[in-house]
Symmetry: C2
Subunit: 398 residues, 2 copies
């Protein structure tokens, strides 16, 4: 925090939790354990979060934004580690579709993460060393349980809306399934009700890359004073390809060479796409913990609402939540078919659902990018729901 | 070779070339250098190959089969290292579409490979140590140049056909472009005239995984008595996902668990897809050299016929070759659009071309699998071309 960094200096997550820049923290004592799907409990534990806007007196205007695999709680404010702006400032802020002049927005670092919420880098009270692989494997349901405990502590009975893309969308669906009475409106974007075989496969490659790095040290790299940066970088590179469409890669990079006129006949980054991927890998290791990557990918792999409830319609039985399900035409990681399966189940459960497939060539990452149709659709849906919920519009109009 | 191995024993490529099981070899002395696109020469050098069937007196019935990235010359006979049957026995053999009762079939290990043809594990005459990264980077055109030298040595003027899938299809297209007068018929399958940005990206991930492995030793692992098996395994796992379609992964594995009834809440292979991928990675390192993987992927990345000739139609100008271009509906690594671009260029060049997109849910690997429409199409095309070429049918009919 006190160090000066330029845009080109590497920035490292302080591995010792106490040294990290702190968000707001909800701390739960040894007497307030978090029940986990693994059949065990976590205690003490904590959840780090940011808020934007003001909660109204009736506590009816809270919007929970759920972040994706490598996201964080800094949805609409600068990340103190990277110095970069919030990751969804186009969506969340004054006058934005999720309007902080009207709504009280909460975004929490997920359980298993590395930005303040309990995760594998957290000190294990049983050993006084970082948990590492002694941290129980967590699930999307566990992440949502932790968020529900935070919402309890904030005194919020029913969230006005839960919104998120990718793994954030999984959390939205889990919220709607686990706590239907606490979710007025739900917006799962570029997600699905399960992780597909191909998705699991890509995650497994990433995990194997991390665990193949000798500096991973069986998960105990913090105690060893090491970091499996090479393995984590390869994992990020592989994953990053899946976030973009073939078309967007072609448009952005094609076969363009990197700062040269000819091929070098070597193994340096001849092509811009190589240089871009290497950069993605190298910068990622500065802001993300390798064990967290293992845990959070595992949580996604385990996600399967139909298995949890017996069937997907059963997951949404008698739901009164209003859903706005959204997918992108060029997203091959969570293709439209996965969203359609959710919509079909919601229809079978007689839920209130609208579905929008947005035409975009940007692939899975479209939900993070400047896609006007996404913003206008969400603005319309959220505003309609807020009016139905009786949340006053800013300035008294809408 | 003398060791007994069972199907479950690991089999290792002998790293010292002289210890490897030998195919037929065409050896070229220090006075017979191979010119390379890198602007240098390779000498001495050699190319290892297998043949099937008999060359006719006129030498008009030779079919060159070109193998893919991790393929080898054992197209229709057992691989002496793995003990497995040839990789395309459904396509090549007596009575098969490429009928060894009618044609003389040649299949050579590619330049830069690791099964007898000169590659990075070959002894560098300048140092008496394996080339490692001192081997010049080679291209698809260099591979084809080497094959042309082999064909010269066999006394063959014109190949009746050149056939191959994936990187083999790239070689087919390069043959037709570089030596149009020497190719009567060409069958590029599941290929394209360039490597796309996404394809380069996946290869770069694989290379970074290999080079991140400390046992890679900067490429000099043979001298160090090591092998970067973990890195190579991760590279193979990542690549293997791209060879299958989302649909085929879903059908074959879905979210099925591996030999267990419940999730283990750990990082072992819970899902069948994980176990399958790990197996693919582990068995691959027993039969493939890590530096060869770097070189051969690089050759594919560099492939771009339009760049070489100024435009794609220019690559096929005045071609008299008969083409049968084939793609598969679910192949996302070399999608039909890449084949269509080739066909469009062939049409613009007024070449003789037929194009078949085969309906298959098996992804890129379909060309290696039991896809009846592929066999019947190639049988029909090859038979028609053979009749036009005046190659007698076996038994005097057909």
């Amino acid at each position: 925090m006190a160090e000066e960094t330029s845009a080109t200096d590497p920035v490292h997550i302080p591995l010792i939790e106490a040294d990290r820049p702190s968000s707001k923290l909800a701390e739960f004592s040894a007497n307030e354990p978090l029940e986990l799907d693994a059949g065990t409990e976590l205690a003490p534990w904590q959840i780090a979060y940011e808020t934007y806007g003001e909660m109204n007196a009736e506590k009816t205007n809270a919007v929970l934004v759920c972040h994706a695999l490598t996201g964080d709680q800094y949805v609409a404010s600068s990340n103190p580690i990277t110095g970069k702006p919030g990751w969804w400032t186009r969506m969340v802020g004054p006058g934005r579709p999720i309007d902080t002049d009207r709504y009280f927005v909460i975004c929490a670092n997920v359980l298993g993460g590395c930005l303040g919420t309990t995760g594998p880098a957290t000190t294990n009270p049983a050993t006084d060393a970082p948990y590492g692989l002694k941290m129980p494997v967590v699930t999307i349901r566990d992440m949502v349980r932790a968020q529900a405990r935070l919402i309890d502590r904030l005194g919020i009975d029913t969230l006005f809306a839960v919104v998120g893309g990718s793994m954030g969308g999984m959390q939205v669906l889990q919220w709607a399934a686990s706590y239907p009475e606490r979710v007025f409106a739900a917006v799962p974007i570029a997600a699905g009700a399960r992780h597909s075989s191909q998705n699991i496969a890509f995650h497994e490659v990433g995990r194997q890359a991390i665990m193949a790095d000798p500096d991973w040290c069986g998960g105990a790299y913090i105690a060893a004073g090491k970091r499996p940066t090479k393995g984590l970088s390869v994992a990020r590179m592989a994953a990053h390809i899946t976030y973009m469409s073939d078309e967007s890669l072609h448009q952005k990079f094609g076969r363009n060479l990197q700062d040269r006129d000819d091929l070098t006949f070597g193994f340096d980054a001849d092509f811009q796409i190589e240089s871009y991927l290497r950069h993605q890998g190298m910068t990622f290791v500065d802001r993300f913990d390798a064990n967290s990557y293992l845990y959070v990918t595992r949580a996604m792999d385990y996600f399967d609402l139909a298995a949890e409830f017996g069937s997907l319609p059963a997951a949404f039985k008698d739901s009164k939540t209003r859903f706005c399900v959204m997918s992108f035409t060029s997203d091959w990681l969570f293709p439209t078919s996965e969203s359609r399966a959710v919509v079909k189940a919601l229809n079978a459960a007689a839920a209130n659902v609208s579905f929008v497939e947005i035409d975009s060539d940007r692939g899975h990452d479209a939900f993070l990018l400047d896609v006007p149709e996404m913003f206008s659709t969400i603005r319309g849906f959220i505003t309609g729901a807020a009016n139905a919920r009786g949340i006053p519009a800013p300035g008294g109009s809408d």
